[in-house]
């Protein structure tokens, strides 16, 4: 399958670039931690409030970091018109989408363990390793759900004026289902799940990611054609 090979090539290229400029990964991680710290002041540094809203703040930190990560991932293509070169390659544009979306997902997944531990410490959440593992799994689903539409939108907004404003105003309303489902399910992990609501909310995350990963591949060629 050449398309799988092409996806792998795009992904490898992105990962290599990320690795060479590790400062970007670190700055996004730092940004997430700063955001988590800010939220605790918004909640009046009240331990009880922080414990009950920990899941929400964690997901918000992910969402805000994703804006930076998504914007950056296409800003670097935009510099020196690198994306034009990518499009000139004898490569299915769909492969570019999946490669980019995968690298964005992986990037956001890397944030997961760091921010989850930071949230547990900052917000004095009582948790176990098993729960943390589940949390990271949900985080991966949420990251996948954010990345697919985010990659599509970032590919468009990176070529416009005011890209920094446009990406969030189109991306945030769209991913509100991801936000709601991951907040709910992570909260159920951290604060108990007496009603067994875990499954439906996890299914929402799976469904959202599936729909937009499929739709993104369909629509991406229209978004980058010249």
């Amino acid at each position: 399958m050449t398309i799988l090979r092409d996806i792998w090539l795009v992904l490898k290229k992105d990962l290599l670039l990320e690795w060479r400029s590790r400062a970007r990964i670190l700055s996004v991680v730092l940004f997430g931690i700063v955001a988590l710290a800010l939220f605790s002041f918004a909640a009046d540094a009240n331990t009880v409030v922080l414990q009950t809203t920990a899941a929400g703040f964690l997901v918000l930190a992910l969402l805000l970091s994703s804006t930076l990560a998504l914007g950056e991932s296409f800003r670097m293509e935009q510099e020196d018109e690198a994306i034009e070169g990518l499009l000139l390659l004898p490569m299915n544009p769909v492969a570019i989408f999946y490669g980019k979306a995968l690298s964005n997902t992986l990037f956001l997944c890397l944030l997961g363990p760091v921010l989850a531990v930071a949230a547990v410490l900052f917000y004095a959440v009582e948790t176990s390793f098993g729960e943390l593992a589940k949390l990271v799994l949900l985080w991966t689903l949420a990251a996948a759900g954010l990345s697919a539409p985010g990659t599509l939108y970032a590919a468009m907004t990176c070529r416009l004026r005011s890209q920094d404003v446009l990406l969030p105003i189109v991306h945030y309303p769209l991913v509100i289902p991801v936000l709601m489902a991951s907040v709910k399910s992570m909260d159920l992990i951290l604060n108990g799940d007496p009603m067994g609501q875990m499954r439906p909310w996890t299914m929402v995350l799976v469904a959202f990611a599936t729909i937009y990963w499929a739709l993104g591949g369909l629509l991406f060629p229209f978004a980058i054609e010249e």
């Binding site: 539409p149 599509l152 939108y153 468009m156 907004t157 070529r159 416009l160 004026r161 005011s162 446009l166 105003i169 189109v170 945030y172 309303p173 769209l174 509100i176 289902p177 709601m180 489902a181 439906p200 929402v204 469904a207 959202f208 729909i211 937009y212 739709l215 629509l219 229209f222 978004a223 054609e225 010249e226």
Partner: protein, 230 residues
């Protein structure tokens, strides 16, 4: 003979219907046994809600048509429909707040499914319009608007069901059987009124878009004096 463009007649028809419907709703229909005269708000609020959803639904179809055919008229219709939907939804939310205050005692409730999902739909499609307004290249503007509209459109049912799983205080839907015929009449009349007004809005907005594109196609006028050299 083909039907004249809705731009000629739809606005007048909508205006006539909304005057009749609102007259019946305000002057003839009886006050509700429990809610009193406030119920008259519903004769305009519910039709607005039906139509805002209808226009967003149609917008997805136009956007698919626009991507599929690449013809400009589909793009004009997509913009017209999305903008009409945004205007109607904005109106819907204000009406909803004016309804919510006397009946529930609050202007806004994050627990109410229809209110919150309408608001999120407004944000979604307003985002599409503002994305469009930043695109200068006409070819990109057409395809990106369609792409963004389709992405937003697919999200609508997901948003609705997610919001629904949070608790709601919206009253259960009344069916026609439980309502006085004098309450059904203004609601139906206004539903068609807003439908026709909306069709007029969308065709008018599409016509504006078509005219703008025509004037974009004409190259900028040469500076005075340059023409003599031709």
């Amino acid at each position: 003979m083909t039907l004249p463009s809705p731009r000629r007649w739809s606005g007048w028809l909508g205006l006539a219907l909304i005057l009749v419907g609102s007259y019946v709703g305000l002057a003839i229909a009886p006050p509700d046994r429990h809610m009193g005269d406030v119920v008259r708000l519903l004769y305009i609020h519910v039709p607005t809600a039906w139509n805002s959803l209808l226009f967003f639904t149609i917008a997805g179809g136009f956007a698919v048509g626009s991507l599929w055919t690449g013809q400009e008229k589909w793009d004009d219709l997509t913009v017209g429909t999305v903008e009409t939907g945004v205007v109607l939804t904005g109106l819907l939310l204000v009406q909803g707040m004016i309804w919510g205050r006397p009946t529930w005692g609050i202007w806004w409730s994050w627990g109410d499914v229809r209110m919150v999902s309408s608001f999120l739909m407004l944000l979604l499609f307003a985002g599409v319009l503002s994305l469009r307004s930043f695109i200068d290249d006409p070819v990109r503007r057409t395809s990106w608007t369609a792409v963004a509209t389709i992405i937003a459109w697919v999200d609508v049912p997901i948003v609705y069901y997610c919001v629904r799983w949070f608790r709601s205080l919206h009253q259960a839907k009344s069916t026609v059987d439980t309502m006085d015929p004098m309450m059904v009449l203004p609601m139906r009349t206004n539903a068609f009124a807003i439908l026709f007004l909306g069709i007029w809005f969308l065709t008018m907005r599409a016509a504006i878009e078509a005219r703008r594109k025509q004037s974009e196609d004409i190259p900028a006028p040469a500076p005075v004096g340059a023409a003599e050299g031709v």
